[in-house]
Symmetry: C2
Subunit: 428 residues, 2 copies
């Protein structure tokens, strides 16, 4: 087995004991990239010598952090002090910031090796697409906007990568690429240094190939309660199954994935119950749209004024408020979100987690359509933690995942649920 | 009259007609700084040649923005591409970012001349204080954390400056320094590129010496409804007078300022009514504390891990959660804030604005105590727009202001109210 094939958890065991070095693991990942990236095109910036130098520095540290020696990909709209951050925008080609984004600095502080920058949809929002292809079928999208991060982890190029989610940019690509991902409770991971689109929605997330790997990153961020695992087994879990207000938009393979995951959990001894959301949730998808467009209005004003000609029409439309979002409309969307957050949290601890679709279906063909975020956007607005879990394959043999969702600040308990249910759900 | 003495509005009239150049105005401000800053110490970075070069560039532009030629001070925890951003922290001495913060880029895009960086409380949050002194009495604080920005505008060094408010860091210094300030609705001004403390609270604000100057900046940010002034006169206004849940903490001079402002408005023909807040507001001050400490936990983790020894104990305490804030406590604070925001917005349009204290009293003696933010923190959590207006003097001859507050996204209408009531309230 080559080091690049190891999960972060498996690599960590070797790294902490000194049986594997950060440099050897980094070199192995770089070899895998050299082999695969001509097809997958996950990376927008990669300097192998810089990555190796960083790994050597990590190998020399006295204290071993929770991410000690683990190579990490960073979505190219998150700042890095030693690499450019282009946001996949012609405006920011060659931009070099003076400091790391908070999440990057924290990862480095815990010993991660920042491997390179992964391609992204422009500003993680619209406009230009990433060049990245789905590792399972190069004719298909890996999803977006965290295209390169999801594909790099799925393709074995790196065990961990940062994405972001404003609509469905972290969880959906995980489903399309057949890997695990976590979008934590909004705000618990400092998003400073990632390009702003919507302050209410933007959330740093991460990809991995195992649920225990997701937990390592959560430990680095010291999420509430992470130090006290619940240790529950599948037989001790009560899982809600939620089709949600957009079930009619799910393709057959996503409907199947949800029903199959529920059936597998029930067969493994979990208590599985259908969950119908109360009436206010009928408006939650529209509320997310209003927040996105209303806040997007101010998010790109800087570029609109200073680089009007090179700013994609998608963003000029936002600034010019083409959707005619008003202040009272935005306040109304915030109010509805607040009401729904309270209603949602009140479902716990009746449930340990809620199972719901992760994407509309398989990854679409081509690069332009990165997939519909409709099964993610409501959870993003609700600020709740979500974990994507691979479940099955669709009619074209592409991966189809599900996600489990918890209450706000229930991130640590949700990771415990993921550890228990993943071997049951991800069983193909 | 020297150019530095002009309000932004008065200077704009001359600049737009070409009867004053950005360079001449900038040079005049630099002369004023040379004269006054040895005492006031408002600036943490000032390169006169760079400022003059920037002014000359502005004088050469084809299109004149709404801030054309106006010198602007930037709080030293807001990024500037051509100047260092130290955050008043030993960790970031000499830090140079590759891009402007969003608010700085927007101001430049509208023709502002970025004059220099103004001293701040460390990370606008705690730890080290600014060196800045109150222009009205060098033995006293200008308030914090936007110490240098408030003092620079009050001392005639610059007509406009950016501050930020997480507790009371914009409005309180305005009251202490006898000037005008605006804290807009949370989120309408992109705070990207300003150091994060609390994503729920952090808000970019600005200082000026006239209410119409505040409006110029609001126009640059294209606040909702700014293009349609209401044109209401004082006689057409209905003003609520709100002592709020912390009235017992107000010094006599702040209580007097509120009553005096209300009396003046009534005498000028406004309808003035006492406003008692409903019961949930009793918990709002505590909710702001929980949000501040709960979110501050993640805000300084990067520095905690990477520069532990040089990080002030204030911030180590935050990261270590010395206040033992829990996830459910934080969710409860968010819920209460959401409830109160709805209750508050429902008071409008019954009122055009609500008048309430801006600070506990006069500026305290010394540099360490930058004043109590208790009359600001609840409004920051409520996300509502606030405008500080000078009202009277305290027992030591120091300025004492009041503030008017509107509903979320009522920024433009609140600016109209400020224009109408300022000549009545600010009458000494």
């Amino acid at each position: 087995m080559e080091p690049w094939q190891l999960t972060a958890t498996a690599a960590t065991a070797l790294l902490q004991e000194g049986r594997l070095t950060a440099e050897a693991l980094t070199r192995s990942c770089l070899e895998r990239i050299a082999e695969r990236d001509p097809v997958t095109k996950a990376w927008s910036y990669l300097d192998p010598l810089l990555a190796i130098r960083s790994a050597r520095e990590v190998d020399k540290t006295y204290v071993r952090g929770v991410l000690h020696g683990l190579p990490l990909g960073v979505k190219d709209m998150i700042d890095t002090a030693d690499m450019p951050t282009t946001h996949n925008s012609p405006i920011y080609q060659g931009l070099q910031q003076g400091r790391d984004a908070a999440c990057v600095g924290i990862a480095r502080g815990e010993g991660a090796v920042i491997l390179g920058k992964t391609d992204t949809v422009e500003f993680a929002a619209g406009g230009r697409r990433a060049l990245t292809r789905n590792p399972h079928d190069a004719a298909r999208t890996p999803g977006g906007s965290s295209s390169g991060s999801a594909a790099a982890v799925a393709d074995g190029m790196v065990p961990l990568a940062f994405g972001t989610q404003t609509g469905g940019s972290t969880i959906r690509p995980a489903s399309f690429c057949g890997i695990y991902a976590m979008k934590p409770t909004h705000g618990v991971v400092n998003s400073e240094g990632a390009k702003r689109y919507s302050h209410t929605l933007d959330t740093i997330g991460w990809y991995a190939r195992a649920p225990s790997d997701l937990r390592l990153v959560a430990e680095a961020f010291r999420l509430f309660g992470i130090e006290a695992p619940t240790g529950k087994t599948v037989q001790q879990l009560r899982i809600g199954v939620c089709q949600g207000p957009n079930w009619h938009l799910a393709e057959e393979e996503s409907q199947n994935a949800l029903l199959l995951a529920a059936k597998r959990l029930e067969a493994a001894g979990a208590i599985v119950e259908e969950l119908a959301l109360p009436q206010p949730f009928e408006g939650i998808t529209e509320a997310q749209r209003v927040v996105l467009l209303g806040e997007g209005r101010g998010a790109f004003l800087q570029e609109y004024l200073q680089a009007h000609g090179t700013l994609h029409a998608d963003f000029r439309d936002r600034v010019e408020n083409f959707a005619d979002i008003t202040g009272p409309q935005l306040a109304g969307a915030y109010n509805l979100a607040g009401d729904c957050r309270k209603l949602w949290d009140a479902l716990f601890p009746r449930f340990d987690a809620v199972l719901t679709p992760a994407a509309v279906g398989e990854a679409p063909l081509g690069r332009q359509d990165t997939g519909n975020p409709v099964f993610n956007s409501m959870w993003t607005l609700l600020h709740v933690p979500c974990i994507a879990i691979p479940a099955t394959r669709g009619p074209h043999g592409m991966p189809v995942g599900v996600q489990i969702v918890g209450p706000r600040f229930g991130d640590a308990a949700l990771l415990d649920v993921a550890a228990a249910v993943a071997p049951v759900i991800d069983a193909e």
